[in-house]
């Protein structure tokens, strides 16, 4: 099994740009009028839904699924991802908030990770390479954390957050905070788009130069960048939500 995988990695170290623009979903793009990244995005959504249903089937009842399986199985991988995100959420947001917002965070992490990873498979373009996908995810987060802030603190309380601590400097701080909040979806989208574009371009150029054996370190770098970008997106989401819903009433942990 390992020999087959290593031989395939050696032979298929090429990417979309190197082989002249061939992709697996080329036929679907020409049949309908949609663009390439939309088709790939729908494809990863279908993969994600299938993966979720598969996980649901494997954990049949709640009492029997407390004990983890032995070795590396699909269920263990999904539980590992969930545990990782939950640990980060507890460290950032506190226990109660982490339990409330956990489904959204684990969805964001695994979905962005899957979308990034599909760019490493030869013949696919990652949907997050386009600015539109990142901007859509960023706008969803923007609407969500503002809605949560208004729900927890009321409209007046949420806008009072933007005014800063001192009262007489409120006009200046209000303008700065509004601009900073409005830049958040843009920087979220641009960050992930720039990282994916740079990584994919480097991989394409090196596959053009030497098609065999040399691009393997760049695949490792690509794997690292994919994971790190998904992790940073989730971390920033956690921090934005935590800053929007924090209440200054009780101080649980001592600093």
């Amino acid at each position: 099994m390992k020999i087959i995988i290593s031989i395939m990695t050696l032979l298929l170290s090429s990417s979309v740009y190197a082989s002249g623009g061939f992709t697996w979903l080329h036929g679907v793009t020409q049949a309908t009028g949609l663009k390439e990244h939309t088709i790939t995005f729908l494809f990863t959504s279908v993969l994600f839904i299938v993966g979720g249903l598969l996980f649901r089937v494997k954990t049949k009842s709640l009492s029997k699924s407390v004990v983890p399986d032995k070795g590396v199985t699909y269920r263990n991988l999904v539980e590992f991802i969930g545990d990782f995100v939950y640990g980060q959420a507890k460290a950032t947001m506190g226990d109660k908030n982490a339990k409330t917002y956990f489904p959204l965070l684990v969805f964001y992490f695994s979905f962005i990770f899957l979308n990034n990873l599909i760019g490493l498979v030869p013949g696919f373009l990652p949907p997050t390479e386009n600015f539109n996908t990142g901007l859509a995810l960023g706008i969803l987060i923007f609407i969500y954390y503002n809605a949560q802030g208004i729900k927890v603190q009321g409209i007046v309380g949420h806008i009072k957050h933007l005014m800063g601590p001192l009262l007489f400097m409120a006009p200046l701080i209000f303008v700065l905070e509004v601009i900073s909040h409005a830049m958040r979806p843009l920087t979220l989208g641009l960050r992930i788009r720039g990282n994916m574009l740079g990584d994919h371009t480097v991989l394409a150029i090196f596959s053009d130069l030497v098609p065999y054996l040399v691009p393997i370190p760049f695949y490792c770098l690509g794997l690292f960048v994919c994971f790190m970008q998904a992790f940073v997106f989730t971390l920033l989401t956690m921090i934005y939500i935590a800053m929007a819903v924090e209440t200054h009433d009780h101080e649980e942990h001592a600093h």
Binding site: T92, L190, R193, G194, G198, L235, L236, I239
Partner: protein
Amino acid sequence: MEANGMIAIASAIAIGLAAYGGTQGQGKAAAAALEGIARNPEAQGKIFTPMILAMALIESLVILGFVIAFMIQGKF
């Protein structure tokens, strides 16, 4: 001085300065994080997360410079 030559020089200056400033900032962040871990090896988990967050925020500005360098050449 043709337009193409100046566009090429502008792209190179954009990405070069962005990379220079970015590595300076990230170097200082990594140095502070490593010194914190060296003083107190048990706090590695708690130091790691803010360090990654700071590095990603610094790097996003470098990526913005890279995007501008591509946009000038017309290959958005």
